[in-house]
């Protein structure tokens, strides 16, 4: 304990240089770190990458040679990422409550909305990185295809890259919004995964729902993002579905998180 005994007493001045609130950039860096510093988080991210690579590999074998283009590899790799990456967003938010780390996190940063914004920024960055991963596996697939007698064509509409980025960012925000609103990992994950299925089942059974589904079912409204061309009307429908499933839950969830008693 000699370090304690010889340390100078704390200065009595009320303000020290260290008394500055952590910046949003630093909080975002911390939240990015928290995505990968547990075994669960790291393996979830690795699994997503492996599945994307596996899909490209399967395509090398099943897709006719002449149709093995860069675009043909890129688009399907977006699917598993879009489905699983939001789970990372859900866990980032809900684990604070299920693992009870909210007690220390919000004691260190009492302005909870800053932590939430940092978490959203972290998962958005992860979504953008995932698009780069999709590009990388598609490029690898194209190279292999070219080397094994496939088309190996690099033809690619750049609008597709923008659409992919929008798709993945909105997907993780959708997951994060569910997590923020429900604050419970299993409940949030199941709701997030089951919701599109419920929509399609309902829309198939109830004819009256088919019209609204075109505006509200995100799996329907965001379908055009898998192609290079999206019309203004399609963007409009997307915006409506995002308002309902992303913006409203995000705002409600943020209010709930800020007001909730931490114990």
């Amino acid at each position: 304990m000699s370090t304690v005994a010889t340390a100078p007493p704390a200065p009595p001045t009320p303000v020290r240089p260290a008394d500055r609130a952590p910046t949003l950039a630093r909080l975002t860096e911390v939240e990015l770190r928290k995505l990968v510093d547990t075994r669960a988080g790291r393996w979830l991210l690795i699994t997503i990458g492996v599945i994307a690579a596996a899909i490209v590999t399967v395509q090398l074998f099943v897709v006719p040679d002449e149709r093995q283009t860069f675009t043909a590899f890129f688009t399907p790799s977006l699917l598993p990422v879009g489905l699983l990456l939001p789970v990372v967003g859900i866990l980032s938010i809900t684990a604070e409550w299920s693992q009870r780390t909210a007690l220390t996190t919000y004691a260190l940063v009492p302005r909870r909305e800053r932590v939430v914004v940092a978490k959203l920024a972290a998962v958005v960055l992860a979504a953008l990185v995932s698009v780069l991963v999709s590009l990388a596996v598609a490029a690898a697939g194209t190279l292999l295809s070219g080397a094994t007698g496939g088309a190996g064509s690099w033809q690619f509409a750049w609008s597709l890259l923008l659409h992919a980025a929008v798709l993945q960012v909105v997907n993780v925000l959708l997951g994060a919004a569910f997590g923020l609103l429900l604050l419970n990992p299993p409940l949030a994950i199941v709701s997030y995964l089951v919701l599109p299925t419920i929509w399609s089942v309902l829309a198939a059974m109830v004819t009256a729902l088919r019209g609204p589904a075109g505006w509200l079912d995100t799996s329907v409204t965001m379908e055009p993002l898998f192609g290079p061309d999206v019309t203004a009307g399609q963007w409009g429908r997307m915006a409506v579905s995002w308002l309902v499933w992303v913006v409203v839950p995000l705002v409600a969830g943020l209010l709930r998180t800020v007001r909730r008693e931490v114990s």
Binding site: M1, T3, V4, A5, A7, P9, A10, P12, P14, R16, A18, D19, R20, A21, P22, R26, L27, E29, V30, R33, K34, D37, T38, R39, A40, G41, A95, Q99, R100, T101, A102, L103, T104, Y106, A107, L108, V109, P110, R111, R259, E261, V262, S263
Partner: protein, 299 residues
Amino acid sequence: MIEVENLTKRYGPHPAVEDVSFRCEPGTVTGFLGPNGAGKSTTMRMICGLTAPTAGSATVSGRPYRRLPNPGREVGVLLDASAQHAGRTGREVLAVAARTMGVERGRVADTLDKVGLNPTAARRRVRAYSLGMRQRLGLAHALLGDPRVLILDEPANGLDPEGIFWMRGLLRDFADRGGTVLLSSHLLREVEAVADRLVVIGGGRVVAQGGRDELLAGAGTLVRARDPHALRLTLDRAGLDATAGTDGGFVVRAEAGAVGQAAADAGLVLTELRPADSGGLEQLFLTLTAGSSTKESVK
């Protein structure tokens, strides 16, 4: 410096904390005593801005906790040692906190060393930690930002006797260097060895507070007679305020001389007559809080 003024928390009609006020001065250790469910943790969470009070206010170093720009550098908080992500290593838990507070990385290893977690333990995941190790990690977390105030909820839980002794030394030293310590416990013995001041809470209300020595002295006289019933009657007749202990003795708020005189006048045989020491404070603590803890257990 911690100042708590009229803090109140109600859940529906049930008051968990009712009008609690106290101050913790720099250079002192304040023991926050009360049975389980008395409102200690709720009070501490309200001080730390984690639970919104129904009424009243609390400040740390002159400011409401939520107004502290970088609270970890001002006040070290340990509210529940088990509230850590089971999948993170001990070192990673501190590294994340250090980055959040803007503390240089080197302090992580120093602080781990200070609380007695060796590099092997620090590399293990919190899932594999015993409660005692989690308390040490929690204490390291609280000390990491080199704060001037410590708020610790039941920090001795799960520590072995050697660990409890070590922690007392650490807290005493922290206070002697001008720091402010508030620590809670449901065990009087644990707190009286280190605290300068005591705040006793029962059923959500402060039932006693003051300097430890003052409270010890105020515990009065312990008296025991061969015939407890006759003693009770005698004390009542003499107008002496007596509290029955669990073992047939009484703690009387009077000088030993006055108690002995009353007994002698009634011709009673006393088997014990002495100033109530810490045992007396324990009886005081038990009687002050007995009603509320039984209420708590049937709630």
